[in-house]
Every structure is written in C-alpha cells, then in structure tokens.
C-alpha cells in the first residue's frame, strides 16, 4: 500500500511544477513593466531599468521562471505587490486561510446536502420522493451559484434581515456564502449518488443478499450503499473545482476578504504578482486535496489496496 502512496506523493512534485509553469507562462504572454509599476509613472527611465535589472526582470523567460519558483519554495517570497508595494505573501496568507476555510466547509456541506436525497431518490425510484428532489436538482443545475447567492441575499438579508450581507467575522456571516458555494455541487453529487446507487441496487450481490433473506434495511444500507458510495467520493473530489469557482464568486458577492476577491479586485490594477501567487497557491491546495481524495479512495476500495499489497500484477 505504501508504494501507491509514495508514487502518488512523488507525482505531486511534477504536478505542482507544471501548474506553476502554466500559470507563469500565461501571465507572461504580455509581459508588463514591473519596475515601472512599482516606481510609478513619473520615475526616470534609468531608475526603472536599474530596478528591472536588479529584480531580474530583463532575463529570459525560463530563467525568470526558475528564479520565481526557487524563491517561492525556499523563501516563501512571491515578490512585491504593484499596487500596495507590500510583500505578496504577507498580504495573501491571511486571505488564503479564509478561502480554504470557506471551500472546506463548502465541500463537507455539499456532501451532507447532496448524498441523502441521492440515496432517497434511488431507493424510492418513480415515487414522489424521487420526482421532487430530481426536478429540484435539474433546476439547480441551470442556476449559476451567484444567482443563488443574490436570491438568498435578497430574501434573508435585505427582506427578512436575518443574516448579515457582507463580511466574515461571525458564524452568521458564513451561512449564506457556504450555502451559495455548496448548493450547485450538492446537486451534482445528488445526481451522481442516485445513478451510482441505482446501479448498485441492480447488482447480483444485492439480489443474493435479498435472496438469503437479509432485511431490506440491511440490503440497502450495507450491501448497496457501501458499494455505491465509492465512486461518489471521487465525484466529491471533482466538485472541488466547482467549489473554488463558487468561493471566488461568494467572496465577491458577500465582500469576504478571501483570496478570490483579492485577485478579482487587483485585476483592475494588473497587479500581476498577487494574481500569479494567488492562482498558484489555490491550485496547489486543489492538487493536494485531489491527491487526498485519491488516497482516501485507495484506502477504502479493497480492489486498489489488493493490487498493491499482493506485490505482483500491478497495472
């Protein structure tokens, strides 16, 4: 088993390097003038050139990339913001925590909201318990997350005055943003749970369990559900991308000081160091969570475990 874990952990290194490379490359398609941005419009050209040289911005692309990555990994140095002239890392880190908190609460919440109706619709197929949640999920799939957020904002905050409409200081502040980001992936998870569960119910081992006289409750909860939930775990991992997208939207909509709203705000000022660093940090978090999902899957699924513990016959 540990061989699989080590293999996956090692693959993390080229992935993270690849991710940083792609982002750095895209942001360098139209190279800006970093020293000009730092010193301002009125600074003399000689000073600008000198600072560009000092910072290494007049080097070829690959050299700049290698410098950036080594500084990033070994000194947590992402450069200085063009806009606030502060260290990018100091500015981003507290906001990064907020975004990650939001996304993690969102992923747990979307699984909690999505899985139970998914099971219900499959077990009670063709009844009202199936139709109503399925139609709801169908409509949710056609509503963008920010529209949800705005509807909640309108009803719960502006009309009923139950919840605060912006900021992130108390529990009440997190209610609407986390719901905004978790409802669209919850609908996806529900649909996926339903089809996975329906497939499991039709399997031979479920028929065997029924035939040997196991009560329906045991058949559904033990035999069908345990097998149906395996692919759902992968689906939850995959919906993390949707969640991060939602987090950016929710931060913007509810004025939460997270990394997404920071990036969006700085796009206006072309604050490249912030945008690059923010994108890279979120992508790294995304990659690590995907890895954890894969590893969890391997630990839960006896088939993958067997492939690696017996030694031979892998792949």
């Amino acid at each position: 088993m540990y061989r699989y874990v080590v293999k996956r952990l090692l693959f993390l290194i080229p992935t993270i390097l690849g991710v940083t490379f792609i982002i750095y490359l895209v942001m360098n398609i139209t190279p800006g003038d970093p020293a000009r941005a730092l010193l301002g419009v009125s600074a003399p050209q000689a000073d600008v050139d000198a600072l560009n040289h000092e910072l290494g911005y007049d080097r070829p692309f690959l050299e700049k990339y290698v410098n950036y990555v080594t500084k990033m990994f070994f000194e947590q140095d992402f450069g200085k913001s063009y806009f606030t002239k502060q260290s990018v890392f100091d500015e981003i880190w507290p906001r990064y925590i907020v975004t990650i908190k939001l996304a993690l609460i969102g992923i747990v919440l979307s699984a909690l909201i999505g899985i139970p109706p998914g099971i219900l619709t499959a077990v009670k197929q063709y009844s009202l318990w199936d139709t109503i949640p399925s139609i709801t999920a169908f409509f949710i799939a056609a509503i963008p997350a920010f529209v949800f957020g705005m509807l909640m904002l309108f009803f719960f905050s502006l009309r009923l005055n139950w919840l605060p409409s912006y900021g992130a200081t108390s529990f009440a502040h997190y209610v609407m943003p986390t719901l905004t980001i978790s409802i669209p992936p919850a609908a996806q998870i529900m649909r996926f749970t339903k089809s996975s569960m329906l497939e499991a119910i039709r399997q031979d081992y479920v028929r065997t369990a029924r035939a040997k006289g196991a009560p329906e409750r045991v058949v559904i909860w033990k035999h069908a559900l345990m097998n149906a939930l395996l692919p759902v775990i992968t689906q939850i991992g995959l919906s993390l991308g949707v969640l991060i997208c939602g987090a950016v939207v929710a931060e913007k909509l509810f004025s939460i000081p997270g990394i997404g709203s920071l990036i969006i705000d700085r796009i206006l000022y072309k604050d490249e160091p912030i945008i690059i660093a923010g994108t890279i940090l979120i992508s790294i978090c995304f990659t690590v969570v995907m890895l954890l999902v894969d590893l969890a899957y391997a630990f839960i699924d006896p088939r993958i475990k067997a492939k690696y513990t017996t030694g031979g016959g892998r792949e």
Partner: protein, 295 residues
C-alpha cells in the same frame, strides 16, 4: 452499424431512417420537446432583437427613468442608468448565447482532435498528452480563465480562447476513451480483417459510433458554458461594460437589490431558462441516441 448498404441510394436511405428513428424517440419525451420549443422561441426572439428593440435602446441612458419598475413602456423596467432592461436582456442574449455556442464548438473540435490522437496513436503520444492534461486540469478552471483574461485582456476573441481552454479537457478524455473502447469492438476487428485501412476504419466505424456520446456531451456543455460565461461577466471578466450581457447586468443589480429586485429577476430568468432548455434537449438526446441507457 449495419454495413450492408448497397450503393449511395441505400446509404442515404439508411441514414435518413436512422435520423427519423432518433427523432421518433426524441419526440416521445415531453420535456425534451418543451426544451426544444422554448429554445427555438428564445433564439427567434433574440435573432429578431433589432426589430423588437433596437440596440441603441440597450445602451441609451436616461437618468429620469433611473431604476424605473416594469411598466407598459419598459416591460422589464429600467436599470440604474435608465437603460431599458428588456432591450438589454435581448441583446445580452445575443452575446451570451453566441459565445457559449462558439466556445462549445471550438472546445469540442480542439479536444476531440487531441483525444483522438491520444487514443489512436497510444503509447508515448498518449501518455504525454494525458500527463500534460492531468497537470493542466490541476489549475481550477476559473483561476485559469482569470489568468488568461488578465494576460490577454477582455474581449470576444480572448473570452472564446479562455472558455475553450477551460472546456476542451472534457472532450480529450471522452473521445480518447471512446476511441480506445471502439477500436476493440468486434466490427472494427472484422473491418480490419476485411482489409480496411486506418482512414476507412476511423471514418466509417469509429466516428459514427462515437458521435452519439459526443453530441450529448456537447449539448449539455452548452448550458454549462452559458452559466460559466455569466459567472465570468458577473466577476467583471467578460465583455467590457457598456455592452449588454446577462452576468454583467446581474453584477450591476447587486448594489440596488434592496429597492429594485427586477434588476435581478429578468437577466437571471434569461440565464436559467436558456440553460434549462438546453439541458432538457440534452437529456432527451441522450435517451434518443442511446436506447440501451434507458432500460
């Protein structure tokens, strides 16, 4: 699938009857028909937008009518600059839907080509493409799109590039697995044994059989891109401001939500209706093209 068509007349007969068969199955689903009618009506209204409400109405500011609620003169009301929301929704539909359709087509072509190359050539080509894709997919879509828009600037073409890059990955995986799967089928083996070359096998066996899955996915992708594009313009990454666009209209509605909810309602309804109709058609097509699935 049958390959006994004798001559061009037989081939065209077979194709027509297959299309008719799919249409017959498609029409059985009320939801799918409803979606189709809804979409056709919406497209017709959007196509005639210039006759119903000229473009200048969508951008003409009239501060006297600021935030006016729906009335006979302005059936959807006016926004914070006094622009007619009805005209803006219509012309916004033109932008949003044409971007969605074009981005779907470009991502489908680009992704399918890459997937077919990976699946058909296999071995090294395959692993290079798939490993790069894994890395590429480790950047969340929205962040990548942001980076592209920041680097290139926000306009129609760059938005198209950004959306294509965010959505082509699905097709690479899909087409690759289809090609891998289909080339192991017995009729492909039979064709090979019969002396058919790679071009003939791809053109007359693999592409027609992979088409169904690709069409269904493409339809469902259109609605995903409609939602994604509206999210981008909501975040200010879409077309630059005076242009009417559904997401952008919603962003402008945010500040006036308390007093003027009609600013939220109409563009949001437009997004939801168009995405719903496309999804209904996609679900109907899935059932019509693949009778095995629905059993």
């Amino acid at each position: 699938m049958a390959e006994q068509s004798g001559g061009p007349a037989g081939a065209s007969f077979k194709r027509q009857s297959q299309a008719r068969e799919i249409w017959r199955r498609f029409k059985k689903s009320k939801g799918a028909l409803f979606g189709l009618v809804l979409l056709i009506v919406m497209l017709a209204v959007i196509a005639c937008a210039d006759f119903i409400a000229p473009y200048r109405l969508a951008t003409k500011q009239n501060l006297a009518k600021k935030l006016a609620p729906p009335s006979i003169e302005h059936i959807f009301g006016c926004d914070s600059y006094g622009r007619d929301i009805f005209a803006r929704v219509l012309h916004g539909g033109r932008t949003s839907l044409s971007i969605a359709v074009m981005a779907t087509i470009t991502s489908c072509l680009f992704g399918s080509l890459l997937g077919a190359v990976a699946g058909y050539f296999g071995k090294k080509v395959d692993s290079v493409i798939m490993r790069s894709l894994d890395i590429f997919m480790s950047v969340p879509d929205l962040l990548f799109t942001m980076a592209v828009v920041v680097a290139l600037g926000a306009n129609f073409i760059n938005l198209l590039i950004a959306l294509t890059l965010a959505y082509f990955t699905n097709y690479v995986r899909l087409v690759r697995s289809q090609v891998l799967n289909l080339s192991e089928q017995e009729y492909v083996e039979a064709a090979k044994a019969g002396g058919a070359g790679s071009v003939r096998i791809i053109a007359s066996h693999i592409i027609p059989n992979a088409m169904g899955v690709i069409i269904v996915n493409t339809t469902l992708n259109v609605s995903k891109i409609i939602l994604y594009e509206s999210t981008l313009s909501f975040l200010g990454l879409g077309m630059p401001p005076p242009a009417p666009e559904w997401g952008l209209m919603l962003m402008e509605a945010r500040a006036f939500l308390r007093t003027s909810p009609h600013l939220l309602f109409f563009p949001a309804a437009a997004i939801v209706l168009s995405a719903c109709s496309v999804n209904l058609i996609g679900d109907g097509l899935r059932d019509a093209l693949d009778p095995h699935l629905k059993s």
